[in-house]
Amino acid sequence: MIVGIFSCITIHAQTIKVLNILDYPLDIYPISIDARVNGPDRGYHLAGKLGDPYYDTADMQDARAKLLNPANFGPTGTVPHTITITDDYGTYGSIPGVAALNPYDIIFIGVKTGAGFSPAEVGYLLAWSKQPGKVLMLQEQSWGSPVSTAMGYQIIDGSNTNPTTALPEDISYGTKLFSGAFGDASMGIDQWGASQGYFTPGCTGIALAKNANGLATVILNTEYRDILVADGDFFTKSWVGNGLISAGPSITNDTDRVWGNLWAWAINEVVNQVEPSPLVPTGIAYTDQTLPLCNTDAIIKLDGNNASVIRWETSTDGGTTWLPITSTDITITYPNPVNNQQFRAVLQNSPSCPIGYSMPVTITVNCTVCNAGTVAPVLTNATVTSNMVDLNSMITGTLPTGITVQWHTIPNPLDNTTQLSGTTVNATSTPVNYYAVFYDTVNNCYSPSAKVVVVSNVCPMANADLTALLHSSLPANTTLVWYKDALRENGGTLVTDPAMAGNGTYWPYFYDADNTCYSPAGTPVIVGLTSCNNYCYKQGITTGTALGTKVGITALNRAGTQADNWPMVRKGSWIALESKTKGFVPNRVAFDGSGNPVGIPVANFVEGMIVYDTTNKCLKMYTSKDGGPLGWYCISTQTCPD
């Protein structure tokens, strides 16, 4: 564990080891035949013109000083990592293999003219760079870009194409060369000299910055996780003394800031051991249109693509087969799409690169018109004679073909789960809302609904009390009045005593007495009266001596347990039955057409006899009905002995 902790600290305070590849061996001068650079363009590397008295060529002493300044790169610097630089391998073919490079985190390669690198060396450098956290910093030139070219990005010589400025990808891909730890560089950076390069299109690179002609000058190569720049002297001091990078170790201008941010990015790659991966062209196809469409062209757009559109494709079979649409635009218009038609963009960085596809977008099309309409059914007075109310009696007129009226328990039905099974409902003392809708049987859709309230009287009241119903707040200076007609203005009848409403349909209105005017009719109320029985409950008496119960039949395991004194504890009974799951089953007897029990002679009928009538399915007693002669009657009406 301790080792682990130290290891952790080591990584965060990691010293970044940089290999600077020289132009020729420092100890052999004049230049030997096996140097990497034979021409005049020497010194395009972090050791600048060391040991070269003849050519005052590109000098990177200031760039090097900024890397070694602990205020920039050091434990308390802008980037909390110290950079050490090893200058080596100036002899052509001297890199022995990948293993020799592995101690280093970052390798800087500037312009190498003439011999440059052997093919084997290029292979070692690329293999090394493909490892996680290994960064090649390539700053080659149009006349000598062997490593950039091997990575798929050759440098072409442009002319006078300054400045190089950031593309949005510099932020979206997190490189932040123009907005990183060392600050913003909104003015951009310049290439010096007559040869100002840009990159040919490649397959695995993201352009981070462009020149004045819009051509890529800085590339993030995702296959290697390296940043390539298209000129050797973005960050050199010019041989005519008019350099673009500032003198000394401090970061002061835009070029300094981009230089610092470039290394800050590379160090982040090292510290986080970022793994290279080839770029797969992708993006997201979408539409701004409200779906589903109907008789409208589809407008398909592309977002987040990392490669160019080479064509579009469409599928009408759920993505099994795709047909091409000729367009390289990021927005296409497709006439008359069908339902569930899919669209995707085909993407490619350049003609020799792999192609990729955007995420497809699916367009839905639905031109179905609901023939149930947009108007709720018009309700008229119901025919009411009792508490059984036929709601359909409120619907009059002829319905169009394919349209029915349905009654539901909710205002906006979605399916038949809320539909009433029958249109006759039982009015209860608690008001219940029902909703009428037109239903399109072909397209399975509904119109808006019309609401009705159904209510009965509250026994022992013989009539319903409309004033007890909840209603919305009265507008100022109005009263609630009830009419017996939906069309009050056509000779409607005012309800004079809404607290005593009989069977019928009632329509509420707000009435402004000052101006003698009415609101439109509100939700109709159907009153269906139920007859009230005169029934009562009587408390059991407790005064006097209670009689014990001496006989009991129990299903419980009571043998030998008399502590609770059952059945004597039950009071006032001849016999107590006891079971948690079983009942008392009286004789079950069939009844004949004359209403008498089959098998019991009339002579044996005794008042107070009780049986279950299996013919009529009721508990039947031999008793008197309302003072009449004795007979067998179903027990059906609650009553009162007063």
Partner: protein, 175 residues
Amino acid sequence: MKKILLLILSLFVGVAIKSQVAISKSDVTNVSVSLEFGDNENKGIILPYVTDKTGITENGTIIYDATDFKIKYLKDTNNWFDLSIDTTGVADLSIQGDDKEEQPGAKVSIALTGNPDSVTKGILVLADNDKAMILPKVASPHLNIISPSAGMMVYETDHKMLAVYNGTVWSFWKP
């Protein structure tokens, strides 16, 4: 039959009793009576306090439903007819708690012969289809049965009604 005093049938298996039973009465009124009671005291019949009625399927079964303290009878399949209506019933269930285990086979059957009805489930089953019980008869039970226990059922003779008691109030029924 003779007068029976303090009879407790604590049942582990079905018991069949001869077809006519009179409790606290010297004999039954006639041959069509399955069960009847004495007429010299103001007493009723106490129904079982059923805490789980889900297994009851025999139409006509009468219970005191201890889950809502109401007297009910099974009018038809899944259709319990509420004879109490009033919801204020109470009952002392403490003496039939979890410590009192129910014997699944416990049953008293009153029938003409042997054990003719082994199918019908009930704690007391009047099995003959040509007889009727006579309810205990009390005049104005709400005035004359003192401290009645919940689940009581009587025939009210003054007004010729069925009267049931839910532990708090009597409810009355007529044709």
